[in-house]
Point group: C2
Chain length 407, copies 2
């Protein structure tokens, strides 16, 4: 008998018909002898309906009252799902975040979970019930209702799994797992049976939007085995697990990409201590997040070239700031390019296998794809290329590393 | 400075526009130097929307889960009203029933309030905030969400007023007060400035649906001055108060009526001890509530005639039971009539004024209205007459007791 925490998002519970389908799925797991805790989001559209009501009052409203308002969305779903389970003859009981003591800080609309008391849930599980919990919400130490921000229901599920020491936390989504890359770009993309937490973090942060990055971090921190599955199809999904559980490492697990970046370069800056701070300080002062950073010695060796990428939405502001900085630092020129993309190879196998980078660069060169920027981490190599090369680059690398075949 | 608890029903908060209007009204009371607690219902239509969702799952659902579901309706309103108040520059904070410890028993969908801890509300009032509380809901001792059943928001308001020792509990409705009788039947009906709790109880139980009877009982029990006012018009409404506060008693405060009754008679029952129980026992066994009961010695003095009224919805079932009983008791016959109405004079002044009954009977007789049944209590005289005489009977009595003029 296993203890499973399942999470179903808004689309999966978007209609009464779908709620009944989820109930069937939950019941099947319970009938197999498992204890099941279900975390659900608001029915799709409901949160937006509530936000629209509030915006009729004022453009921005008190975050405390917004959390009071939108937390009703999940409360509706837990009641309906419990009724659906009971209709199928499956004992069930629903709880709001507050009722199962999902204690958070007081940062309304983006609260972080501090503690969960699993005792009540355990008692219900022991009594043979399925426990249905409202995702995305908690209470602070004063009993005020808080919400966890975007993707919060995933975080609730993982935190609940950690608190209950669950055997598995299953996240049901509209995709049937994590793929080697986006199948819309490379039709040969293959579903991974397993992926490590570290790889998943890199994939998620690089734009593979299957899971919220916070919930993955959380699962990794508390050693909660996480599985991504489809709400609508049967299948094993992808298990996100710990590195040492895999007998043999694949060199590369997948290829992530991000179309949402822009590149900024300052050339010929007199190279002196503190130059990096002088360039990036004004950028971060404006709350612009910087992703890749590369610095090279320039041709004349007394100056340096400095390149970084930002979110495309921040491009214009960043460009203006950098042009100003270039003047102040007496740099040769400031360059800006928002027609670029980032492509990244991700794989924990990289650590122990040499030659990954050279294979990557060689494959791209063969197709005439010029690399504008390179950045590496322990389990990832990212390159920036011209936007037009995105699809070709992804498919080239997918083939070069033989990702269509299971390792 | 007074402490006022105000309650606004679903129609009063049915749209964002109306919520903003309520906020204006609340703010005005606060600007006059009062501390204000507001209790609100779900936006009109919302509770029915939620119930419809549940009925898509099953015809009847677990009452615990129904309470979990429908209690979200009020939670939405409290958040929106708090935002509206804040928009007007009025500090406000919303609380669910559970958050302000409205402790109830565990009778889901019809829970009764056991206790309220007013400390949290008082602290907010002291801090200058308007406190907005979800009506109709509480939590039981295990922290499960309960609802109070129909009219529950009135009860919440009164209970909160009692717990806070408020100076007045104001119930805002779609009528501007309690009238001497229904203005749709007698256009000369007059709004009462004051009415006693006892009279209000009789008026409410006789079909004047201004306030839920439970909230009136509650207010009487805890000496909470209650005022009924209009949400949509300005005015003083009607204050429901304690008898001894009135200098001079009106003889009669109002005329209530009830179209929803049916009359059943068993004639010529051998008169012996226990006959009343033998007749009514089988009726109450079927959970049919009996209202008026009259027993007379029949013409031959060895048998008795026994008449009672039931809700019209129970008429057919009651009739069948009574016909069976008539046979068993060897009665002469069972008679049934669902074309009757009850008209009642209500007034605490009746206690000390003789001749009320004879004035009543005389006035009805003059108009040729035959009285089918009479029943009296300390502050009420009820007669049953043929349905067709309802309007004529009410108007006749309204004039006979000079109710269009303030006493």
């Amino acid at each position: 008998m296993a203890l499973i925490v399942q999470k179903y998002g808004g689309t999966s519970v978007g209609t009464i018909e779908r709620i009944l389908a989820v109930a069937e799925k939950v019941k099947r797991h319970r009938d197999q002898g498992n204890q099941v805790v279900v975390v659900v989001s608001a029915m799709s559209g409901e949160t937006n309906r509530l936000i629209a009501l509030a915006s009729e009052i004022d453009e921005t409203n008190d975050p405390r009252e917004m959390d009071m308002l939108v937390s009703t969305g999940e409360q509706v779903t837990i009641a309906l799902l419990s009724m659906a389970l009971q209709k199928l003859g499956c004992p069930a009981r629903s709880y709001t975040g507050g009722q199962v003591h999902i204690l958070t800080d007081s940062a309304y609309s983006k609260a972080r979970i501090r503690d969960i008391d699993g005792a009540r849930v355990k008692a219900d599980l022991e009594a043979g019930r399925v426990v249905v919990i409202a995702g995305f919400q908690g209470i602070d130490e004063h009993g005020h209702i808080t919400t966890l921000g975007r993707g919060g229901s995933d975080t609730t599920a993982v935190a609940m799994a950690a608190a209950l020491k669950a055997d598995e936390c299953q996240i049901y989504t509209d995709v049937d797992g994590v793929y080697t890359t986006d199948p819309r770009v490379e039709p040969k993309a293959r579903r991974l049976e397993r992926i490590t937490f570290e790889e998943m973090l890199e994939m998620a942060s690089l734009g593979s939007k299957v899971l919220q990055i916070r919930s993955v971090e959380f699962a990794g921190k508390y050693n909660v085995p996480l599985r991504v599955l489809s709400s609508f199809e049967e299948g094993e999904g992808t298990l996100i697990t710990f590195e040492d559980e895999r007998m043999e490492q694949a060199k590369i697990s997948g290829i992530a990409f991000n179309r949402d970046e822009a590149k900024l370069t300052i050339r010929g800056v007199p190279d002196q201590p503190g130059v990096a701070f002088k360039i990036l300080g004004p950028i971060s002062d404006q709350n612009i997040e910087v992703d890749m950073i590369v610095q090279n010695i320039a041709a004349d060796t007394s100056t340096t070239d400095f390149t970084f990428t930002v979110n495309r939405g921040d491009f214009k502001r960043a460009k203006a700031i950098l042009e100003n900085t270039a003047q102040e630092l007496n740099a040769q020129e400031a360059l800006a390019d928002d027609k670029i993309v980032k492509i990244s190879l991700v794989g924990v196998g990289m650590r122990s296998h040499a030659g990954i980078a050279s294979t990557m660069f060689e494959a791209l060169a063969k197709e005439g794809i010029n690399i504008r920027m390179i950045s590496t981490s322990e389990i990832k190599i990212s390159v920036v290329v011209d936007e037009k090369y995105l699809e070709l680059g992804v498919r080239t690398l997918h083939e070069a590393f033989n990702l269509e075949e299971a390792s």
